[in-house]
């Protein structure tokens, strides 16, 4: 029983991942129309037969665009987090484990990054690189990897001096093996919690920056860009505003809830470990 409780977050996340993947696979079959297909004869249709949520100002099916937008917004969010973890975790592991001057210089760089607010760094980076989705992805990854590196480095520093690591060293385990076999399990839980909490923030950032025109460019179906796209027609057709907004809110809400849940769970576990 205790085993299940300790490993529950992993089951939960696994379950969520499977759900998301099935959902993503399922929706690629249910997109009823081409989300980019413009049909000026059918513009601003109300919700009803044919178009479940109606059509936008260019006659594009809103439901199809929302589904395709889910792929862009949520998919890009997951991609960004994945990249941030892949860069940040090894960087933190190596820096924490190596220590010394290398670690000090590394921390300086991290502090410089952390000193700046996420939005300003992301805006400035996409400013230097030019508007566009790829540049936005790069910009947010640059903002986010630092958090993981710092978190992992802290964990490694706290574990490095423990007896079992020293014992492993005496037994002749190489640094790669020690990091992988002994450090990774300590790091994984924390990284998972941070990533879940970050997902909502990253999605909000993608949507907000796309809204102000720095991310997805029209006609790409992205929820933030859709809000920008339809803003001249909100008065006549409020759905154009309501639907993408509610979608963003729900996804962020879900990931915040999952993050809170995992964090509480994880705290309980670490308290038990401390006793």
């Amino acid at each position: 029983m205790k085993q299940i409780i300790v490993h529950k977050p992993i089951f939960l996340i696994g379950g969520m991942l499977i759900l998301v993947l099935t959902f993503a696979a399922a929706i690629s079959f249910i997109v009823p129309y081409d989300p980019l297909h413009v049909n000026m004869k059918e513009r601003l249709l109300p919700a009803g037969a044919g178009h479940i949520l109606g059509t936008d100002h260019l006659g594009r099916d809103i439901f199809s665009r929302i589904i395709a937008g889910a792929k862009t917004t949520v998919g890009t969010g997951l991609l960004i987090l994945g990249a941030a973890v892949v860069i940040g975790v090894p960087a933190g592991l190596i820096s924490g484990y190596a220590g010394g001057r290398f670690d000090r210089i590394f921390m300086r760089i991290i502090d410089a990054f952390m000193a700046f607010p996420d939005y300003i760094v992301a805006i400035v980076l996409s400013g230097l690189l030019g508007p566009g989705m790829l540049n936005l992805i790069f910009a947010i990854v640059m903002v986010k990897w630092v958090g993981y590196a710092r978190l992992v480095r802290g964990t490694v520093l706290s574990q490095k001096q423990k007896d079992y690591i020293i014992l492993a060293k005496i037994n002749g385990l190489g640094p790669m093996r020690i990091l992988w076999k002994h450090m990774m399990p300590h790091v994984a839980g924390n990284v998972l919690v941070l990533a879940t909490l970050d997902l909502g923030k990253v999605i909000l950032m993608i949507a907000a920056l796309s809204y102000i025109g720095l991310g997805a460019q029209p006609p790409a179906p992205e929820w933030g860009a859709m809000l920008n796209d339809g803003k001249a027609f909100f008065y006549h057709k409020p759905e154009l505003m309501i639907i993408p907004g509610v979608c963003i809110m729900l996804v962020v809400l879900l990931s915040n809830l999952a993050g809170d849940f995992l964090r509480d769970h994880y705290d309980v576990k670490s308290q038990k470990g401390g006793q």
């Binding site: 400035v124 102000i212 025109g213 505003m241």
Partner: protein
Amino acid sequence: MKMIANRLLELVLFLLVLSFISFAFMKLAPGDPVRYMLNIDDVAVSEERIEELREELGFNEPIIVQYGLWLVRFFQFDLGISYMTQQPVTQELAEKLPATLILTFCSVVIMTLISVPVGSLSALYKNKMIDQVSRLFALIGASVPSFWLGLLLIQWFSVKLGWLPSMGSDSILHLILPSVTLGVAMAAVYVRLLRSSLLESLNQDFVISAKARGLSSFRIFWFHALRHSMVPVITIFGVSLGSLLGGTVIIEVLFSYPGIGKLVVDAIVRRDYPVIQGYILFMGLFVAVINILVDLSYRYLDPEIRLKEGGST
């Protein structure tokens, strides 16, 4: 004193690195600024004119020479001329800054007006109805995209009811919607923070001893518990002042509010390099100075830090 000198030295180094990186990035960035400058009215320009202007702006020099020249001008507070308006960048930034600061200030006021009462009630009536409602508010508030909240407010208060203007900054009425949007979005975080901080303070010995001394619960709450709980809240507020300025960018664009955030986004879309670079350096300086001030203020607010540092050196 030594610590302050160290921090200032670091600040100068940091600005140099930042300026070089942003300078190098701009040179590598796609798009030819000379063409952007000349193509304003989509009139065809001769190649000679392009070459002439490039020579005039020093774009044909090696990059290090260009950076050196730029650095010399930077120390004379000359950040170049905006391609969009043909005005000096320093002047552009200085003109737009007050509007952003006013907006930031108003939204902080609104944030405080919401989060202090809601957070307090939530902690005082823990797990009661009012606490549940305010926690729900905090959860939803943290999940709503701020620009969407702004759109909803515009739709309701300026389009449907026609009470408030939605664009520009001509009167004090123009400030209401943007600062409410920002204030509400921020309040969600602080309600949560204040609640947990208050719950902690209310269990502290000094509150119990104040109760034992027979102080009224009103006095205990306002003069003991709330004051104690504000320390972590203000700390976090200080650290996030910079991110507040990041949040205003989105809201300024949404409400066409003429602050520095709107300025930089316009500059990015039109690849107006001098303005982007001016913004980067200005923000770098601003955030770095805030961080130093926050660091220093800890030392005065929290005697423990001073004692620790004094002991270790």
